[in-house]
Point group: C2
Chain length 224, copies 2
DNA sequence: AATCGATTGTGAACAAGAGAACTAGCTTGT
DNA sequence: ACAAGCTAGTTCTCTTGTTCACAATCGATT
């Protein structure tokens, strides 16, 4: 009944930054750097030094006062925390433009997330080979996860199909989903969902661009 | 000297949600719905009703108590706020897997962000046609923006090239950049930068997946 | 051994955001 | 005209996240 691992609860914001630190540290390691200060790491990661220290302190006290952090050791600890020991496969559902690009994108495999299956609903696509892998039909999705491996599902279908795919992924036992479809997808409690909405990012940028433009006009007006 | 438009400052979190409301409202409009309550809209957008009302109140009082919001009018107001009146072009730099997929992705144009130029550094790619558009060389980037149109730059290059591209975009007058390269890019004040890091999203999901898995194990241990 | 400069780890103030609860105002039915 | 029922708009509280400031601690140097 008592909480088993209440020792530390890492804030969501920190979790989102750990991979960034991880990347910076990997670069440092490859450059042969053995020690790094919170300030240096902050520069590389594009954040505030105090934030780096606080973030890292959630993992434990892995730094040395007066010196900094040992790159390799810190990297190891972040690896552990992020669960890089486990191999976590990725299934891509929907092989349109975006899905195909994601299937061919080496960035996933390079970072420990090998694409383990490609799925589509279009019979014309099923059976074809992409990035050295056969496309399977979505109706066979249950069998893909039969072995109980932990897997992340990527939804790259049109918006209309996204919720249905999500439901099937959840039914098949997937507990983490990354949604690229431009629509709201809901999942049951206990399933983690993140979204990447490309057009939405542009719209946000567009807002600020337009705001700045009109502000400039207003400023010019008040000058006159 | 006095602030010119202090009337309302829309919080960042709200700005990020406005496009979601916009999308939901567009769907409602296409279904012939003329009026919507904050609760309905909240359902569609996947958020809390109070948040919807608060968000919309930053734009002004466009609802009617006891009734709701008129879909078309609200849509118009959000359009205005997001700057959909202006046409904002998009330049994609880097035409590897991801860049090509983005170039072919209709989601941008559909939402008012036409791709206006494709740029790469590889001479082998320059001159080829993609999505009905000729690929230009990055050295000619200045000329692309010569007309002073507002444009968003998308960086889809390898990580190593990203900062250089960002610098050139900024030098050419681009004030909004969307970075897909898995690296930290810094820009001067006044330039808006957003990032989409695909592998990072997987790593975040991976963290929670692993945490849940170990928690389950721990719970089982304490049961025994 | 003692001091000094550097850097971590953390407590506390501060800021931003989320959500609940309340108020104000509209519409409809009688 | 009035009451009842909705629903927008607003206020308040709580949580989360950020930043600052400083004490604790380490290695180096004299």
């Amino acid at each position: 009944m008592a909480p088993v691992s209440p020792r530390r609860r890492i804030p969501e914001a920190t979790v989102a930054r750990l991979p960034v630190y991880h990347r910076s540290l990997t670069e440092l390691k490859e450059s042969g750097v053995t020690t790094v200060s919170s300030e240096q790491l902050a520069d590389l990661a594009g954040v505030n030094a105090a934030k780096v220290r606080k973030d890292l302190s959630y993992l434990g006290s892995y730094g040395t006062r007066g010196v900094g952090y040992e790159v390799e050791y810190l990297l190891f600890q972040i690896d552990r925390e992020l669960g890089f020991a486990n191999d976590l496969g990725v299934v891509i559902v929907g092989l349109g433009n975006l899905g195909q690009a994601l299937a061919n994108y080496d960035g996933f495999g390079d970072r420990g997330f090998p694409v383990t299956a490609l799925v589509d609903a279009d019979p014309a696509k099923v059976g074809s080979t992409l990035h050295g892998m056969q496309v399977q039909h979505i109706d066979d999705i249950e069998s893909i996860f039969a072995d109980g491996d932990l897997t992340i599902g990527i939804i790259a279908t049109p918006a209309a199909a996204a919720q249905g795919v999500a439901d099937r992924l959840v039914a098949a036992g997937v507990r983490s989903i990354l949604n690229f479809a431009p629509t709201v997808v809901t999942v049951p409690d206990g399933v983690h969902l993140r979204k990447v909405d490309l057009a939405l990012e542009l719209q946000i940028l567009g807002f600020y661009e337009q705001r700045d433009a009109t502000e400039a006009v207003n400023a010019a007006d008040s000058d006159s």
